[in-house]
Symmetry: C2
Subunit: 847 residues, 2 copies
Amino acid sequence: MLKQLTFKAFTEITRTATISVGQHGGRAKCLQRLIRLDMPVPTTVALSFETVRRIAQGKMTDVAAILDFFGEAPLVSVRPSAEGTDWGGPGAILNIGMTDRRHAVMVQRRGEDAANAIYLRFIHTYAVQVAHLDAELFPRVPRPGRSDVAEALRIFESETDEPFPQHPAEQLAGVLRSMARAWEGTSARLLRKARGAPEEAGLGLVVQRMALGVGADESGAGVMQFVDPTTGRGQITGRYMSQAQGRDALALKHAALYLTRDPRGPSLEELAPEIFDRLVGLGDLARARLREEMQIEFVIQEGELAVIDAVRVPRTARANVEIVVALARDRIIPREEALLRVPPRSLNELMHWQVDPAAPRAVLAGGIAASPGAAVGRLVFSSTRAQALAAQGEACILVKRETSPDDVRGMHAARGVLTAKGGMSSHAAVIARGLGVPCVVGAGRIAIDRRAREMRLADGRILREGEVVTLDGSAGEVLEGAAEMLEPSLGEAFQTLLGWADEIRDIGVRVNADTPEDARIARTFRAEGIGLCRTEHMFFDDDRLTVMREMIFADAPEDRADALRQLLPMQREDFTRLFEIMEGLPVCIRLFDPPLHEFLPSDRQGVVDLANALGRPVSDVQARIDSMTEFNPMLGLRGVRLGITVPEIYEMQVQAIFEAVIALGEAGTQVVPEIMLPLVSAQREVEILQSRIEQVAARLRAGRDAAVSYRLGVMVETPRAALKAHAIAELCAFMSFGTNDLTQMTYGLSRDDAGRFMQTYVHQGVFREDPFHVLDKEGVGELLRIGAERGRRANGRIVLSICGEHGGTADSIAFARDCGFDYVSCSPFRVPVARLAAAHAVLARGS
Amino acid sequence: MLKQLTFKAFTEITRTATISVGQHGGRAKCLQRLIRLDMPVPTTVALSFETVRRIAQGKMTDVAAILDFFGEAPLVSVRPSAEGTDWGGPGAILNIGMTDRRHAVMVQRRGEDAANAIYLRFIHTYAVQVAHLDAELFPRVPRPGRSDVAEALRIFESETDEPFPQHPAEQLAGVLRSMARAWEGTSARLLRKARGAPEEAGLGLVVQRMALGVGADESGAGVMQFVDPTTGRGQITGRYMSQAQGRDALALKHAALYLTRDPRGPSLEELAPEIFDRLVGLGDLARARLREEMQIEFVIQEGELAVIDAVRVPRTARANVEIVVALARDRIIPREEALLRVPPRSLNELMHWQVDPAAPRAVLAGGIAASPGAAVGRLVFSSTRAQALAAQGEACILVKRETSPDDVRGMHAARGVLTAKGGMSSHAAVIARGLGVPCVVGAGRIAIDRRAREMRLADGRILREGEVVTLDGSAGEVLEGAAEMLEPSLGEAFQTLLGWADEIRDIGVRVNADTPEDARIARTFRAEGIGLCRTEHMFFDDDRLTVMREMIFADAPEDRADALRQLLPMQREDFTRLFEIMEGLPVCIRLFDPPLHEFLPSDRQGVVDLANALGRPVSDVQARIDSMTEFNPMLGLRGVRLGITVPEIYEMQVQAIFEAVIALGEAGTQVVPEIMLPLVSAQREVEILQSRIEQVAARLRAGRDAAVSYRLGVMVETPRAALKAHAIAELCAFMSFGTNDLTQMTYGLSRDDAGRFMQTYVHQGVFREDPFHVLDKEGVGELLRIGAERGRRANGRIVLSICGEHGGTADSIAFARDCGFDYVSCSPFRVPVARLAAAHAVLARGS
C-alpha cells in the first residue's frame, strides 16, 4: 500500500527534479542536462520505468492528468527513454492531441497545409504504431489538400471499425500503452539483449510539448552535430528543412538545407544566421559540459529555436577514437575516461578494411566472424590458385572446406579466407588472425565442389571461381559483388590513445609471432616481445619439407640427425632474423610441436612423388604413412612426446637457437632466448629435456668465450600440467598457459570439430559463450588459477603468462591480471586491443 | 667407531639368537624357525646384510673366524638369504672346504666315489661361480674314477693360471666375495627390481655345516612338499635320490625315488619308512607352526635325517588360493590373512586358460599384455574370417593393425586378438577385456599385410593365415604352435575366498556390461549391479546399422525420428533382457556416446553399397561422410553434444528404457533404471536433457497406472565436469567417473595413439606407469578427489562411482575408497579381482 501511496506517475523535468537514468532512462536524464544548460527545451515530463510497467499491465489509465499538466489543448510528443541509449525502443510519436476540432482551429491559425501535414503525420503514425495497421494502406507522401486527411480518417475507420479517436486523453493512452507493450515484445527483447541490456531492463517515456516546425515565419526542424561521424574530425554536419518535423531533414535530404554555407545549395547559416550561431554555441556548451560530442535535434517555431532532444553522435569506431582523444586533449575528460570510452575490440575496425556501415549489403552466406576486417576479391578454391592470382596482382578470396598447414601460404596470398567447417579456434581462424587476413569460418550452409571450382549457396545459387565477392570477417558474412569499403586508420589519435594505455596498464603484452613479418607488425604495434614463436611453420617451405620427410623416413637416429643437419642453417637464420627484428626484446621460442604425419602427403599423387624422391617402393611409403596416422592427433605423438622419443629434432632446434645467439653476441648484440617445451604433462619430461638442452649448450660453450645463457620454460596446455604446476615450476624460468589446448582438454572438445555444433550450443544457451572465443573462467580459468598459484608458490621468481588465442581478449586480460600473470601474448593484430584492454582492467578494478 | 666395535660379522642361528628378516634375510629367519621347532638343522651361521656389504667392498677378509666356528676341517655350504624370498640371489655352493688333503682322507673314510663326487661338485661350482670359468669346459656328468678330479683340477689351473685353492679359508673367502658382488651386478638388480625389491635391498648369507648325502649306509638328498604345486591340493610330492646332494633328486628324476609308495618305482616310504614318517610329521609341524605350506629340503647322512632348508612351496595362483583357503579352514591362519595372501591380479590366472608355466615357450612376437588368458588358434586377418571359422567350430586368433567397433563380433568369435597398434586402453584392449578374450596389443614389430593374409615378424619370418599359434594375453606374447595349457579353475576355494572378501569389503563392485552375456557372466561373479551399460554396441548389428545410417542421412528431425522408431522395439528388448538377468539389481545405462561417423562405411565399396541402399548419388553420400569426418573424434560431436543437437536418439533410447520398465512392472518386477549422460562438461547440458527425459517419462506416465521412476546421473569424463561437480551434482542422483576419458583429457593423450610411445615413455621413466593401466593418482586422481568432494558437498545423497577401466585395479579401488566413492564398476572378468582388492583395501588401511 505504501508503494501505491508514494507512487508518482510522472515528473516534470526541471533543473532540480529527481530524474535518474536508472528510473527514467537516458533520454530523460539528458533532457534534464540540457535544461540545466539553459537550452530552450519545451516543457517535458518523464514517465518512470515503474509507470510504464504499470501501463503495460493495464494498471494505469489516468493519462488525463498528464495532459492536464500541459494546459489547455496541448499537442505533445512521446519518445522512449531506456537506461542504455542504444537499447532501442519504440519510435517517437508526434502531434498527439490532434483532433478534427483542433485541426479546424489550426487551419485558421497556421494555414491549411500546416494543419494537414501535422494531422496526417499523427494519423499515419497512430494507425501504424498504435492500431497496428499496414503502412502501405496510406499514400506514401501526403498530397497537399484536405482530401488526404479525410481519406486517412476514412481508411482508419474502415480498417479498425472505429472512428479515429477524437479525445486527446484517449490518444495519449493508446500511444503510451502501445509503446509500453512493444517494449515487452519478443523482437524488442532480443534486440536489447543483443546490445547487452539485462533481461528485465525497464523503459521510461518522455512526453514533451510539441514545437511544431510548421507555421508562419521561419519554421522547420533539423539535426546538427559538430564532428564527422565517420572520421570523428571536427566539422559541422547535419541538415535542416523548413516546414518539417522530427528528422524529416535527414530523410528527405534533397529537399533540405545544408547547415553551413555550401556551394551545393542554400544553408541555414545564410537563412537564419542568428539561430545558426546560437546552435553552434549550444554545441560548444554541450561538448564542454556534457563531455561528449552531441547531436542536437532542434525545431524553429515561427522564428524561435527549440531544442527538443540531443543524443551522443552515432559514430564509427575510428571516429570514436578521434573524438575521445580530442576531448581528453581539450581537458574536457581525463585520459582515463578517454581510454574507458573506447571498447578494446572496436580497435579492430581501425586496423582493417571495413565494409562501409552505411552501404547496402547483399548477404550471400553467413558463418563465424573469425578474423576481423573485410576484403573484396575473386573466388578461388585452392591455395595454389590463390598464390597464382596473387602473383598476378589479383585480389582473391580463398574458399576451402577447411584449411591445413599446407594452406598457410595460400592464405597469406589471399585477401580473405572462407571455410565451410571450423570454429573460432580452427586452423583457418587462428592463422588468419595471425596473418591479419579477414576470415569467416563454419559457413555450414555452403557446399564446396573443389574440382568443379564452385560453391553452392543455401538457396541453390552457384558461385564459380573468378566471381567477385566481399568477405566481411568482422560480421561473419559473404556479400555479393564489391561492397563499399572504409580504409584502415592507424592515425595519430590511435597511437596517442595506446600510449596513454601503456602508461596505465600493469600487465605486459607480447605477441605470438612466427615469422619476421609477424615480428615487424608486432613492433609497429609496440609488443614488448615475442611470447610465442611457433617453430613448426618454419618447416613447411618446399625445400624444408623435403628434408623433413627424409628425416621422418630415416630408419636410424644418425640418419635423422643427418637430415636435420641440412635444416640447421635455415633454422639458425630464422632465429637470427627474429632476434634482430626484436632488438633485444625477449623472444620465447616453442620447440617443434605438431605430429610428424602433418608433414606427409595425404593424397595418392603426393605419396607417389614422395616414394620417387626417397627411392622407396610406394607400398613402403604408404605403409609408413598409415602406421603414423593417428585417431586423435591432438592427443597423440607431438610436443615433448616427440621431443623425448625423437631427440634429434629438438637438438637441432636448440643448436640453431644457440648458434644464432652466439653469432649475434659476437656482433655485439646480447640475446637471452626463452626456450619453451610444448604439451608437457609430467615433471620428468621437463627434467629429461632440460638435461639434453644443457648438453647442447655445454657443447657449444666449449672452446668459445661467448656465454650461452637461456631461459627454459613450459607451455601449460594439459590439465595435468596445471595441476602439477608446483613440480614443473621447480625446473622452469617461466610457464606460459596455452589456453587453446587447455580449453580443448578441459572440455574434451576439439576446436577443429566444435564448429559443427558450437553455434547451436551457444544459441541454446548450453554454453554461455564459445569457450574458444571467450575464456571459460569457471572451468579452464580454475585450472589457470590453480596452475599460477602452485607455480608461484614453488618458484617465487617464475614468469607467468597466457599465450593462447584468449591472450588478446579483454575479459581474459582482466582475469589474467587478477590471477597474477606477468604478461599476455596474442596475435599481432590483437596487440593494440590487448594494450587497451589491459589499461581497462586497471581502471575497472583498481591496481 | 662405535659401529665398528659393535659390528658382529656373523651370528650362529639358535633358538634365541637375534636373527631378523630385515638384517639377515628370509632364509636365515626361516632356518631359525625350523630350529625352534626342533628340526634337525645342521649348525648354521648367518652373515648379515651389513657383513655381506663389507665383503663386497673388500673390507672384511677374516673369514677364518667363520670356519673356526665350525671346528676342525669342516665342510660347509653357503646359501643366499635376501629379505624377500623371491628376490633371487646367487646359487648355493656346497662342499666348501674340500681340498686335496681332505679328499684323500674322505677316500679312506667314505670310499672313492663319494669323495670324488663331493670334490668334483665343489670344483665345478667354484670354477663357474667364483672363478667365472665357462661351465662347458668341464665334462657334463662326472664319470666315476679318480681321473675326473685330476682333470678338473688341471682344467681349473690351466684356465686361471692358478692352482685350485687348497686353503678352506681362501675358498670360503672367494665364495663369499663372489656371492656378495654378484648381488650388486646389473642383472641381479634388474631381476629383483622386477620382483618389487627396493633399489638398495641387502643380501644376507647363511653358512651351514654340510650334511653330505653321500657315504656309507643310506645317504642321499631330497625335497618334499605336502601339496600339489599346480592345484594346491594336499598330496605329498617331491623326490629323493641316494648318494646325492642338494636338489639332484629333482634335476635327475629318472634316477630318483618317489616319496610315497608308487607303482612306477621304488619310494622313500619303502626304503626308509621311519625317516619318511618323521618327514611327514615335520611337514605337519611346519604347516601348523610356520602357517604356510613348506617345501623341505633334507639330507640323509648315513641314516640320520638333516633338514637343511625349507622354503614356501612355489605355486600357481590357483594352488595359492587352494592353499590359503585350506589354511584358513584349518584355523591355522585367520581369513583376513588368507585374503591378504592372494594378490588380486593373480585371480586372472584362475579365470582364464593359461600357458603352462612349466612348458617350453618359443616366442614369435611380443606386445602389451592387454587382456589376460591364453588361447591356441589359427591366424586370421579379418573379422569376417574369424566369424566364418568360428562358425565351423575352428578356433582362431584375430590379427589386425587395430580394431574398430566393426570388429566387435569378430573379436567375440576369435579365441584371441593381436593388434600391431594400441595401448592398454585401445579399443581392442578394452573390448577384449570386456569379452574375456586374451589380447595382445601394440605388437609394433610385426608388419601385417591384410590383403596377402600374412604377417611378417621382426626376424623377417612370414606367418600366413591358417597357421596355428598360441596367444598369451597374460604375458603379452605370441608363441609358436600350440603351447601346453592349463584350464581355468573357478573351484570351491575361489568362491569361498571371494565370499570372505565380500564380508569384509566396504565399497561396492558393479560390472561394465553391454550385453546379456556380459550380464550373465557378471552375475556368476556376483557383481552387485551394472555400473556401465554402453548402449552404442547395440547399434552395430547388421539390421540396426542400416537403420542408423538411414537416420544419419535423414534431412529432417521427423525423418530421423521415423528411422529411430524402427530401432525402438529392439532397444526395448535389449534393456528388457538386461533388467531380467539382473533381477532388480541396479542397471546404469549410458545413453548413446560415439560420434555418428563411426556408423558410416570407410571404404569405397561400403560407400557405393550405402548409396544404393539409400537411393542417393554416391557423390552425395561421400560428401556427407566427408562433412562428418572429424579431426579428433574423441573430442568431437559425441555424447551429450549429440544428445542435445540430435535429440531424437536419446528420446528413442529413453522411451525404450521406460517402456521396458513399464512392461516389467506390469509383470510384477519393479525396476528403477539409472540413466547416465556421457561427456558432460557443463551443468546446462544436464538441465536440458533432464527436462527432455522428464517429458518422455511424463508422456508415458499419462494414461497409465504404472509409475515410471528413474535416476538420472552423469558420467564425469572431462576435467571440466570434475571441476564443476558441485553444479552438476545438484541435478543428479549419481556421478560416475570415467577414468579412461578423464585420463586422456587430463594428460592430453589419446589412448588409441599412446601405444606408439608409451613403452618408451615408461621404460625411460618419463611416466612411472602407463596411466591407462595404473590410475595416475596425482593428476587424474586430484580431479577425482575434487569432483567427489564438490559433488558430495552440493548433494549429500549423491552416489559416486568409478566406471573406467581402472575400476578393477587394486590401487584404484583403494584410492576410490579413500575418496569416499560408493562403488567401482569394471569389466566382467575383473569383478572377482575387484572384490578381493576391495577387501585388501579395508585390511591394508583399516575401515
